[in-house]
């Protein structure tokens, strides 16, 4: 009879700045004042971007938006640790991470305005990923590619607590481990997956320990502590660059709604929200910076003014871009080279668009006539007539709908 322990594990938790803004020097990453101010500016910019984006949605200028309010430290701290030659693979609530990576606000807004222009890939950031957790595999692939080429670079991906229930996230961590991928898996545990709380997502005591089963390191960090996150992310990326992937669980809170279509009052208490408001990542960091003399009232006002001016310009630019959307472009990027059937569909689309408002569109008739001319086959009179009548009816309807809508 043999019964013995064959494996054991533990999960560490890191906090550098406590909720009062006191710094634990032992956990603090090396950052100069310029970086401190930039971290602060990015967090503020992100919060204001989220607020303005939600307001745009409320006014009907934009579609569904997923604000990351409350998660600024988790995102800014981790994205700040990435080099320009490295990749970020986000989920769909990562405005703060995108902004940290230098993405302009108007592109984030374009995506929310329903425009692919906002999902164009620039500066090694993949587009938002809507299917929960599926992007973790892309980060494993990117990190594997970096490993194959022996690059001194890594990839960082974001997902939430809900995503850890998805098979793709486990598969990603597992293959990353086997393939020595240069990947850091950053789980922003914001406590809620729409209405399902963290404890109903998994019986696992921590989410970081999900890394253990995949054979990679897992660590927890206070996700509302930007300096703690920065330090942990730097260490994780350094490990990943050497072929040892890491999962980081950043404990944070989604202070706002899941998306603009959601009402958190249905499933959580104001008391809970109040507890987390007190742990706000920006307030905490502000306290620390003021204590250190890096920030004062004048500097704060200056930063706030700059952000408002920037947002004003960026929102104007987003609106201008929205006016220039060309519908037929939906056909143009399906394949590198558009195949014949798709070219034909594009032509049909453009012809029908052009015919809107005309009383007797030529398209329906044209199809039959074209066929008759080409084929020389007899078309029964009744077929031609009924098609023509049907087309005329459709034309009338279209006319009513489109009055004044098209120049």
């Amino acid at each position: 009879m043999v019964r013995e322990q064959v494996a054991e594990f533990s999960v560490e938790y890191v906090q550098a700045l406590d909720e009062e803004g006191n710094l634990d020097e032992a956990q603090a990453p090396e950052v100069d004042d310029e970086d401190l101010l930039e971290l602060y500016r990015l967090m503020r910019l992100s919060r204001r971007t989220d607020e303005r984006a939600v307001a745009l949605q409320r006014r009907g200028e934009s579609g569904t938006y997923a604000p990351g309010i409350g998660q600024e430290a988790a995102q800014v701290g981790s994205a700040f640790a990435l080099g320009d030659d490295e990749w970020m693979v986000p989920s769909f609530r990562e405005s703060a991470a995108y902004l940290t990576r230098g993405a302009p606000v108007h592109r984030l807004l374009w995506y929310a305005m329903g425009m692919e222009e906002g999902a164009e890939v620039a500066d090694r950031n993949t587009p938002p990923s809507i299917p929960v957790g599926s992007q973790a595999l892309h980060a494993a692939g990117l990190g594997w590619g970096q490993a194959i080429r022996g690059e001194d670079a890594a990839t960082l991906t974001y997902f939430g607590d809900g995503a850890t229930s998805q098979g793709d996230v486990y598969e990603a961590m597992n293959v990353a481990g086997v393939l020595d991928a240069h990947t850091v898996f950053c789980c922003q545990n914001n406590q809620w997956a729409i209405s399902v709380p963290r404890e109903r997502q998994s019986r696992s005591e921590t989410l970081a320990q999900k890394a253990v089963a995949a054979g990679i390191d897992g660590i927890q960090v206070d996700g509302n502590d930007v300096l703690g996150v920065l330090g942990v992310a730097r260490d994780a990326l350094e490990s990943a660059r050497e072929g040892n992937p890491v999962m980081v669980e950043a404990l944070t809170y989604r202070q706002s709604m899941h998306t603009t279509s959601d009402d958190p009052r249905v499933y959580r208490t104001e008391e809970e929200e109040g507890d987390w408001d007190a742990r706000d990542p920006i307030v905490r960091f502000e306290r620390y910076l003021r204590e250190e003399g890096v920030l004062d009232d004048d500097r704060m006002a200056e930063i706030a003014d700059d952000i408002e001016a920037l947002l004003s310009d960026e929102i104007d630019r987003a609106r201008e871009g929205r006016e220039q959307v060309e519908p037929a472009e939906m056909f143009d990027y399906v394949f590198a080279e558009t195949p014949p059937e798709l070219r034909r569909q594009r032509e049909t689309f453009e012809r029908e668009e052009g015919e809107k408002g005309e009383t007797a569109p030529a398209s329906a008739e044209g199809g039959l006539r074209g066929e008759r001319e080409a084929g020389g086959a007899e078309i029964p009179e009744s077929v031609e007539q009924s098609a023509g009548e049907a087309a005329e009816e459709r034309g009338d309807e279209a006319d009513d709908e489109e009055v004044g809508d098209r120049g």
Partner: protein
């Protein structure tokens, strides 16, 4: 120069030559490395290309999702899904990411991934090893679906697929892997995607088929009396409509053959395209000879399910007698 080789060897040859030609081509999947693939399509490649051939964990979503990431990193991923019916475990990665990445990023990120996978029935395999889901793949915008029917096309089409800048499902008919040795050009051999081939010319009726059904269709025609034209579609999406329409305009009659279930199968799409552009050339309704709308049976009933030369010949007779 040409070699007499089998389809599975032609696949291996294409992989070999493309990896030699382009270091960014990476072959990976379950058992493709040391074991050389369960059909031996990747035999010995890992020894020749240790930096380009990898065994992965048993996880189809991972295999396909990794390809999206590898593509972003500048590779040309050529993953293998061990049997097409297990692509469902990673289908979301194809539909939600690989196929739409170019479109949703307005051409700023492509996924030049070629997913090789054995498909179709006829080898008395275990349950869920014989399905023909090409219509499902063809229904995904942004994804190309290619089915070779013979060794030369297997090499030429796979080469074109690997070089293609967009994702390709490359369905290899298992029953043809070792069915015959045929002439395959040595060295570079590219068969463009999206082009069907008239494999037998005829005047009375057009028979459209792909994959394993091409051989069955040719058998049916050889053993019958009709002067039939046989078209091997080769790329089922995007489909070479013109090749079909040109032939139907000549013959006025058409039989479409596929192993996949009848309802919603690609024969229905082909009938619709004939309706759109060649209706008044038809002398008879287009016939469909297909699998039935039943789950692919275990192999004791496999032959009853799959169209064969006999059923195809009867389909041709119906088309001619109408």
């Amino acid at each position: 120069m040409a070699n007499q080789i089998r389809l599975v060897e032609a696949v291996r040859q294409a992989l070999d030559e493309e990896m030699a030609r382009d270091e960014s081509v990476v072959v990976y999947g379950e058992d493709v490395g040391v074991n050389g693939g369960v059909f031996r399509a990747t035999q010995d490649l890992i020894e020749e290309y240790p930096e380009q051939v990898y065994d992965t964990p048993l996880a189809e979503a991972a295999i396909l999702g990794l390809g999206v990431g590898l593509s972003a990193a500048g590779f040309r991923p050529v993953p293998e899904i061990q049997f097409a019916s297990f692509a469902y475990q990673g289908f979301h990665q194809l539909v939600q990411h690989a196929s739409r990445m170019r479109s949703r990023t307005r051409g700023t990120l492509g996924v030049p991934m070629t997913v090789r996978t054995p498909y179709g029935g006829g080898i008395r395999a275990l349950e869920l090893h014989s399905e023909s889901y090409e219509a499902g793949f063809a229904h995904v915008p942004g994804l190309k679906t290619v089915v070779p029917a013979n060794p030369a096309d297997a090499k030429g089409l796979l080469t074109a697929a690997i070089r293609d800048p967009d994702p390709v499902m490359f369905l290899e008919p298992t029953s043809r892997y070792r069915a015959s040795r045929e002439s395959v050009p040595e060295g570079e051999h590219v068969v463009p995607l999206g082009e069907a081939e008239v494999v037998r010319e005829g005047e009375e009726v057009t028979v459209v088929a792909w994959g394993a059904m091409v051989a069955e269709a040719l058998d049916a025609v050889e053993s019958g009396d009709a002067d039939a034209e046989v078209i091997d579609l080769r790329t089922v999406s995007p489909m070479d409509s013109e090749a079909i329409l040109d032939s139907v305009r000549k013959t006025g009659r058409c039989v479409v053959v596929h192993e996949a279930p009848r309802t919603g199968g690609l024969a229905a799409e082909i009938v619709a395209r004939i309706n759109d552009d060649a209706l008044y050339y038809l002398e008879a309704p287009v016939e469909r000879v297909t699998g039935y709308d039943v789950p692919f049976p275990l192999f004791a009933r496999e032959e009853a399910y799959r169209p064969d030369a006999d059923r195809i010949r009867r389909g041709i007779e119906r088309a001619l007698s109408a």
